[in-house]
Amino acid sequence: MLLDLPFVAVGLIAVIGLGAMIAKKNLIKVILGLGLLEGAVNLFLVAVGYRQDGIAPIFTNAPEGVMVMPTVQALTLTAIVIGVATLALLLTMAMAIHRHYKTLNVERIVKLKG
């Protein structure tokens, strides 16, 4: 059970991120919660591909040993860049909203309803 610590960490980070997204009132903090959730998912992806005592799957001057799974690393890389793009767009929108509404409180950013 203790050996599965990375998965426990994933669960905890995801719960913290989710909690921030649901409970926080500040839009920036909500977006940061999303960032945490994203970090958890990426960590999960990388952790899934680890093999006991594995080395990086790169043959340049590689030592002897079993290699960890390369696919998940590629997926994580892709997911990280997608996450960066998402966060950039969300933060920009938050900036634009703050400029027009003069607030970042999610409870007051509700001109659209009904």
Binding site: L27, V30, I31, V48, T71, T86, L90, R99, I109, K111
Partner: protein, 525 residues
């Protein structure tokens, strides 16, 4: 089928994604050369994409599912000979259901892009608008064509972000950005949950290919979590109640051309939902439970959507609530099919028919709802008013727009001879045999929809000519043309429903029901 363009027809699935991306990337350069060039490039790019989409659909409907291996020595080489039967590359798998969606994307995409050519380029953003539109097209096409779960996530994110950016185009003192932010935040969260589901499947089966996982699936405890993680974000993206609240905001604030295409984008999310429930998890699900889950989403959406729509004053917001209500019909039809999937005699008795109705409704909804949003956009464009109380008497000046609106409104209410009637009739008939109560709700919702659109029609087009709209003219030609094309399709679909059902809908239903065909496209060649 003979070869087009010197053998390029073997590459149609790749061109479907590659062409819009290429043209989108050219857009910033074209902007530097000349303003008009962006218009020409956008229409050319979208036209080529639609051409690829239509050719691909024809190919699939005539010769069966098409696979495409990206990066392989030959596009047909789905499995490398030395991999022991494991797909290693990203495979596109377009079966009849995928081709059906590709067809919708092609038609509605081209119509809405032509409509959007009339945008005024006040803030020098037109090139960006076109680039985002083409990227959205690439995203949704990729979503329905791909056979790889992670690739699906990537295209999902392209379509979400491009959609969100397009919703924000008009700013509207920050209100459009608010709508876009809601859309982007929910899509991003949904995307992450989807990715987590994909990761869970990957840990157990060591592959990301839908066909491979579907064949190997054991339905462990983790898979149960994965089903939820794949299905819930998609239900949210297709606007099913109770996860619908982003939809009226985004739909009402986006430019009309974009809204019409966002409807298609939502339906692609619905495609993913059906694909994962039917193809990926298929017969290992607790079918009755999931069937009722989908039915419950459908009935809630139908009912709450229409009741929220009736009091709306903002014409696009009203239509957005109707969009929620109509997606309920699709969920209801396919949900009934899912619920009886395990019982062949019931499936043959009414299950297939219900699914045909639901899937037919996807196409009809994309056409008539797109048409309605476009007419609303044309009215707003000419009058500057979106509040129903301030509109009136436009039938005198905007005759063609009024006719198109009428076609759309009668279709959405399920009045013959428009296409909405054809699919709704299939639904009423078959759902009645499954559970009469559900069918009665569906009919009731249709009546309410009709009432609501009668009101809209009356307050927009009827009445005396208003002095403040004295100089209002008919919508510009590109708008009328694209609305006209959609209106003609709406009528044709209503006049010849059996042709459409026989050649397009039935194969799509079979593709959804027969998991083995999808798997064979990849695994046994």
């Amino acid at each position: 089928m003979s070869t087009f363009f010197g053998g390029l027809d073997n590459h149609l699935p790749a061109l479907l994604v590659g062409v819009p991306l290429l043209f989108a990337f050219l857009m910033p350069l074209a902007e530097r050369v000349h303003r008009r060039l962006t218009d020409i490039l956008a229409v050319t790019g979208m036209g080529l994409t639609s051409l690829c989409g239509v050719l691909l659909a024809i190919r699939v409907f005539t010769t069966g599912a098409v696979g495409y291996a990206f990066g392989a020595a030959s596009p047909d080489e789905m499995l490398p000979p030395d991999s022991g039967g494991v797909p290693v590359r990203i495979l596109f798998t377009v079966d009849a259901l995928g081709a059906f969606m590709v067809l919708i994307i092609s038609v509605v995409g081209l119509a809405t892009l032509v409509y959007s050519v009339t945008r005024e380029d006040r803030h020098g953003e037109k090139a960006t608008f076109y680039a985002l539109f083409l990227l959205l097209t690439a995203g949704v096409s990729g979503m329905v064509a791909t056979g790889d779960l992670f690739n699906l996530f990537v295209f999902l994110e392209i379509s979400s972000l491009a959609g969100a950016a397009l919703v924000a185009v008009r700013m509207d003192r920050g209100v459009a950005v608010e709508a876009a932010l809601k859309y982007a935040l929910l899509s991003a969260t949904g995307g992450l949950l989807f990715l987590l589901g994909v990761a869970l499947l990957y840990t157990q089966y060591g592959s990301l290919n839908i066909a491979f996982i579907a064949r190997e699936l054991r339905m462990t405890g983790l898979d149960t979590v994965a089903v939820a993680l794949l299905a819930v974000p998609m239900a949210m993206k297709c606007g099913a109640v109770p996860m619908h609240f982003w939809m009226p905001d985004a739909y009402s604030r986006a430019p009309a051309g974009v809204t019409a295409f966002l409807v298609v984008s939502s339906q692609c999310a619905m495609y993913v939902l059906f694909r994962s429930l039917f193809t990926l998890f298929h017969r290992r699900l607790d079918l009755a439970m999931f069937g009722w889950f989908v039915i419950a989403l459908g009935v809630l959406s139908m009912f709450i959507g229409v009741t929220m729509a009736i009091p709306q004053k903002d014409v696009k917001r009203l239509m957005a609530y109707h969009a929620i209500s109509q997606s309920g019909y699709m969920l209801l039809g396919v949900g009934v099919g899912l619920a009886v999937l395990g019982k062949p005699e019931l499936l043959d008795a009414y299950g297939r028919k219900a699914m045909a109705g639901g899937i037919f409704h996807i196409m009809n909804h994309a056409l008539y709802k797109g048409l309605l949003f476009l007419t609303a956009g044309a009215v707003i464009y000419r009058t500057g008013q979106r509040d129903l109380n301030n509109l009136g008497g436009l039938g005198h000046q905007m005759g063609w727009t009024m006719l198109c609106f009428m076609a759309g409104a009668l279709a959405i209410a399920g009045i013959p001879p428009f296409n909405g009637f054809a699919s709704k009739f299939l639904l009423y008939e078959s759902v009645f045999r499954f559970n009469p109560f559900l069918s009665i709700i569906a009919i009731l919702v249709s009546v309410l929809t009709l009432a609501s659109f009668m009101k809209v029609f009356h307050s927009m087009f009827m009445g005396p000519r208003l002095p403040r709209f004295a100089e209002v003219r008919e919508a510009p030609l590109p708008m009328v043309v694209s609305m006209g094309v959609l209106a003609v399709l709406v009528i044709l679909g209503g006049l010849f429903p059996t042709v459409v059902v026989e050649h397009i809908i039935e194969p799509a239903v079979v593709a959804l029901l027969e998991q083995s065909e999808y798997i064979q496209t990849v695994m046994e060649r």
